[in-house]
């Protein structure tokens, strides 16, 4: 039972860990996108 729990637990941990990393990257990209929008607005005015 311990081995099965460890194996399944590790796989879920790895998958959710990766989802967390990708979502953080997306968050950072959105931040950069906002900065780009601000620069475009400044250029327009």
């Amino acid at each position: 039972m311990k081995m099965v729990a460890l194996a399944y637990g590790f796989i879920w941990l790895a998958v959710f860990g990766y989802v967390f990393i990708v979502s953080r990257r997306l968050g950072r990209l959105n931040g950069e996108m906002d900065e780009l929008r601000r620069r475009i607005d400044r250029l327009k005015t």
Partner: protein, 229 residues
């Protein structure tokens, strides 16, 4: 700017994947216990799909690398980067879940036999690819792409190793020997994991595509600001 991760199709696929995992986990729980190994055999339902995704990721990474190396395709390069990371994640899952099963089946976590060693080698090549892309700068792109092709050559070695070498690892035909209750659970799990791979790959590729567009826009903006000043 909408990305593929916010599209209705992506959300539908995510919901479908979650539903598939609920069904697959129920099927795994209901599947009969294997007579000799008992409960620990259930590691198989997650271990084999992870091994399949390690190979799929490597193949997609190699395909993208071929498009980049020989066709100059930037999209191919982005596909390769996205797939390589998934290969590292699912490869790690294989290399952890396998030894946990092995400890119960063989009495040891690791044996330096052909299947295990070639799988470890494949995973290390993908790790090398990811590290080269992350820290090697622009000049490492072609080197990493060549490394991906080298990794793809290892796939037949991993798959056929149990046939060509003396190996204690279960053979590739083990799926066909499963009982009806076990076989259904296995295929459902494989389907759920493949759908998960597609969701993660789409999300990762969307970040790569967005980043590439962002870099292009920044260059254009720099030029426009220079002109204005």
């Amino acid at each position: 700017m909408p990305t593929r991760t916010t599209s209705p199709r992506f959300l539908a696929l995510t919901v479908l994947t979650a539903a598939l995992f609920v069904i697959a986990c129920n099927a795994i729980a209901d599947a009969p216990r294997e007579i000799t190994m008992g409960l620990v055999q259930k590691i198989f339902y997650f271990h084999v799909p992870c091994a399949w995704l390690l190979m799929l990721s490597t193949l997609v990474c190699a395909g993208g690398s071929v498009a980049y190396l020989f066709g100059g395709s930037e999209r191919g390069d982005r596909v390769a980067v996205s797939a390589s990371e998934l290969g590292v994640v699912f490869g790690l899952c294989v290399l952890v879940s396998g030894p946990l099963w092995a400890k119960a089946a063989w009495g040891v976590y690791w044996q330096w036999e052909a299947r295990l060693t070639s799988s470890l080698l494949l995973w290390l090549m993908l790790v090398a690819y990811v590290l080269a892309r992350r820290y090697g700068g622009a000049s490492a792109r072609r080197l990493a792409a060549a490394l991906a092709l080298f990794a793809a050559i290892d796939i037949p070695l991993v798959y056929f190793s149990v046939r060509f070498f003396r190996s204690i690892h279960p053979s590739n035909t083990v799926v066909s020997t499963l009982g009806p209750g076990m076989r259904g659970a296995f295929w459902l799990s494989l389907l759920a994991f493949t759908a998960l791979w597609w969701v993660l790959f789409s999300a990762r590729l969307a970040t790569e595509n967005t980043y590439a567009r962002l870099v292009d826009l920044e260059i254009l903006l720099d030029q426009a600001e220079e002109k204005k000043s």
